[in-house]
């Protein structure tokens, strides 16, 4: 597309805190002085976190991540945060922005007034500044076996596992998760009961359970249909409200509660029934 809208480039700061360069153009006509209050924590020197105030010139069309990159490039190279794609795909830039779990590359400065408060994702231990430790989520993801467990294994020579478009549509929405963990930061149950497997991991279990090619539901039920699994969910619905990929984890969990209840009825109340 030639002659596209005049658009100033956001500053580039390498995700690992390496070489930085500012391409922001001071004096542009849609600049704005943005104030941020960023939670800082240095594990080497701090026992508690504290807020640090920054004022930085930004372009009106920038996102919060651009402002952080500008701060890192021009004001404070010690600021730590994660990002990679800058296009709401990689899921690594999740932060609390004014108390709401957001992808910082998707949080437009123009949507905020006054001082913008930026904190690391809540419910996760803070590694340093805005960087949280995702270990617990990773471990839970593994537990739900989020991969295809074929009903019957076929030799490669027998060809692919085929699926109709309707069978694909059944689970497609639940396969859109980018593992950003915003839903965990939003979920009060996860905050109160950290053993809860949580929205994204359970949703991924559901995504495979309802895949026509998959036969692993029974194995996953050992994790899913437990108190740490779907029964910890009280349907607050916050996960679906904050999910940037419109995965709607709350719907997946309610559907799993229904199928798990049917399993229980078949097993306990129907003579000779087996789930």
């Amino acid at each position: 597309m030639s002659n596209s809208l005049p658009r100033s480039q956001p500053p580039l700061a390498a995700p690992n805190g390496g070489a930085v360069a500012s391409l922001g153009r001071p004096g542009g006509n849609n600049e704005r002085l943005v104030q941020l209050e960023v939670l800082r924590y240095n594990p080497d020197t701090d026992t508690e976190a504290h807020f640090q105030h920054y004022e930085v010139m930004c372009q009106e069309e920038w996102v919060v991540l651009d402002a952080l990159n500008k701060i890192k490039a021009d004001i404070d190279p010690t600021l730590n945060y994660r990002w990679s794609c800058h296009m709401a795909v990689c899921g690594s830039c999740g932060m609390m922005i004014n108390g709401e779990p957001k992808l910082s590359c998707h949080a437009f400065l123009r949507s905020y007034e006054g001082v913008i408060r930026v904190e690391p994702l809540t419910h996760f231990p803070v590694e340093r500044d805005l960087v949280t430790a995702p270990d617990d989520f990773m471990e839970k993801l593994k537990r739900v076996k989020p991969y295809l467990i074929p009903k019957e294994t076929k030799a490669v020579s027998e060809g692919e596992y085929k699926q109709t478009p309707a069978q694909l549509m059944k689970f497609r929405q639940y396969s859109m998760c980018i593992n950003c963990m915003l839903c965990y930061a939003a979920c009060p149950e996860y905050g109160l009961t950290p053993s809860f497997i949580g929205p994204a991991a359970l949703t991924l279990a559901h995504r495979y359970n309802i895949d026509s090619r998959d036969g692993g539901r029974k194995e996953r039920q050992e994790v899913v249909a437990t108190h740490e699994g779907v029964w910890e969910c009280t349907f607050v619905g916050a996960c679906s409200e904050v999910c940037p990929a419109h995965v709607d984890p709350a719907s997946a969990l309610q559907q799993m509660k229904i199928t798990s209840s049917i399993d229980w009825i078949v097993e306990h109340l129907i003579p000779g029934g087996k789930s």
Binding site: P43, D46, T122, P125, L192, A238, D248, S251
Partner: protein, 130 residues
């Protein structure tokens, strides 16, 4: 470099003040107290019915007291709110796929409202209101 992650505690009793959506959730949960209390009231009514006419008349009198009317009014509002949140949730719990497409969520929830209205009219007819 050794890790020393900072763990931030969640306040166990006041967490729902952290965000308006949590307060909305708690208000839905609180309505179930009224639903439960009204069920208890019905059981007490049944019990007085089985204890003879005098007890039943006393029960009916008690229902007409201002405090009782206030409670029933509150219970009605709470139950309607509770039911509405449930019906709105049905579209998430029971999606309906026809071919490649899903039936619009408000049709699923709407069907529940229609069933609710029909059943309510049926109950009122049986109760002799019409």
């Amino acid at each position: 470099m050794s890790r020393k992650p900072l763990v931030r505690e969640v306040p166990p009793t006041t967490w729902y003040f952290r965000h308006p959506r949590y307060l909305r959730y708690m208000s839905r949960e609180v309505t179930s107290i009224f639903v439960g209390a009204y069920c208890v009231l019905l059981v007490v009514g049944l019990q007085s019915l089985s204890s003879g006419e005098a007890a039943w008349e006393d029960f009916l009198m008690a229902l007409r007291s201002p405090a009782s009317i206030a409670f029933q009014f509150l219970a009605l509002i709470a139950t309607v709110y509770h039911a509405a949140t449930w019906f709105n949730a049905t579209q998430k719990a029971m999606p309906l796929q026809i071919g490649e497409d899903f039936v619009a969520g408000n049709i699923i929830s709407g069907a529940h409202y229609v069933a609710w209205a029909v059943l309510s009219v049926g109950v009122l007819i049986i109760a002799g209101v019409f």
